[in-house]
Symmetry: C2
Subunit: 259 residues, 2 copies
Amino acid sequence: MLLLKCPSNPGTGKPETTAFRIIRGKDALYSDLVRLSALPGAPMTPTITAFERSPDRGRGLARDMRVRWALEEVRQPYDVRLVSFSEMKGAAHRALHPFGQIPTYEEGELALFESGAIVFHLAQRHAGLLPEDGNARARAIAWMFAALNTVEPPIVELGAARLTERDKPWYEERRPMLEDRVRQRLDDLSSRLGDADWLDHAFSAGDLLMVTVLRRLGASGILGEYPRLSAYIARGEARPAYQRAFEAQLAVFTAASAH
Amino acid sequence: MLLLKCPSNPGTGKPETTAFRIIRGKDALYSDLVRLSALPGAPMTPTITAFERSPDRGRGLARDMRVRWALEEVRQPYDVRLVSFSEMKGAAHRALHPFGQIPTYEEGELALFESGAIVFHLAQRHAGLLPEDGNARARAIAWMFAALNTVEPPIVELGAARLTERDKPWYEERRPMLEDRVRQRLDDLSSRLGDADWLDHAFSAGDLLMVTVLRRLGASGILGEYPRLSAYIARGEARPAYQRAFEAQLAVFTAASAH
């Protein structure tokens, strides 16, 4: 998002800030500016970033999927700016995301990073992702943090070992330990979920994040041991908003692969 | 917290819910109930849980420290219920915390788990931990998620390897890789912080969580490579609220060690 300030708009005679959307990467900056609308007050289409070519090959495991899903749940249209790996580590992108990752979120003068924070921002702004009742809302937010700070880390650690240490002599000896750390979380999560559809009554942003976190286990085979959690993931994936988000990220990968 | 409902209070002739605080562990439930005050509306002292005997030996690395610090920043008095390792994994505690950990937070009819969620709840309820301006508030919340989901996981992984794999033949070969994952985050964090005191203008719950996350690196020696981050941690530790919280958790460990 680019904001240009005019001291005086010739049409109105008043100072004006105008927002432009950058449709393609920064290289196309000057050719592809699209004027959006005059500020302030006009509704603005947010722009998120995603991998130009996702390493998950379109399986919806990259973290833009969480944000796309939340945007679809609240029916907020959005634009996507695709970034290459080298752009992601460049100064322009790091100004948006200090750790040089995706996704980011730009809406008017607001720029955010961290998928959890972006999902939370959307849930605060729109109805449908967090309960109205204060205590129920606090509990749903606790599940958001639980997904990202308690359940995801051992899952990411297991996945990283598979990616980067598979050829090391210690890999097979360490693997059961890493898997057991994941199982410890899944045992507890499955017990708490029980026969309920969602973690705390109605579907919330806590479920949205938890389902995306659990989906990262797909390649491990561990989910087969947890029928309740597998059914929980399937309920998430069956939501129309999930499906729209999934198709959108898959289309990016399919188009990139065609080149 | 235990809530007892009376269909009719003999004094007022009206239905009443009365809250009792449980002062000691669940074994002392019936001997140590303390009547708090009539609901609703009466201010209620929240109760958090902490380790009866913290494995960090009072260095303030357990996750109750985050919550204590936040409570001190907003000047909210609180009670602490200490739990043993076996109580932590029992059904009574798991009803509060699905993953059998500390801290938990009870306040009237609200029960929360996850240190990040509890700090956020306090920051929503009280002034002083999140900016009033909407965009600045969203950015501070992004730093909360960044601390817990981007910076903490590689730090915990490094610490866990030191604790559980130190005697394994692969430990010394893996250590540089784990340390480099941490350095990757610290490089980016230090660049973003620059010469500022805090991550986004005023001190916020994002800084509170980030400082507690970085403190976990104490034993690794890595912080010595990052003078800006070391000074940032020292600024956090110098806050009077931090110091009150630190003393309170240290007093628990000191008392437990005296037995």
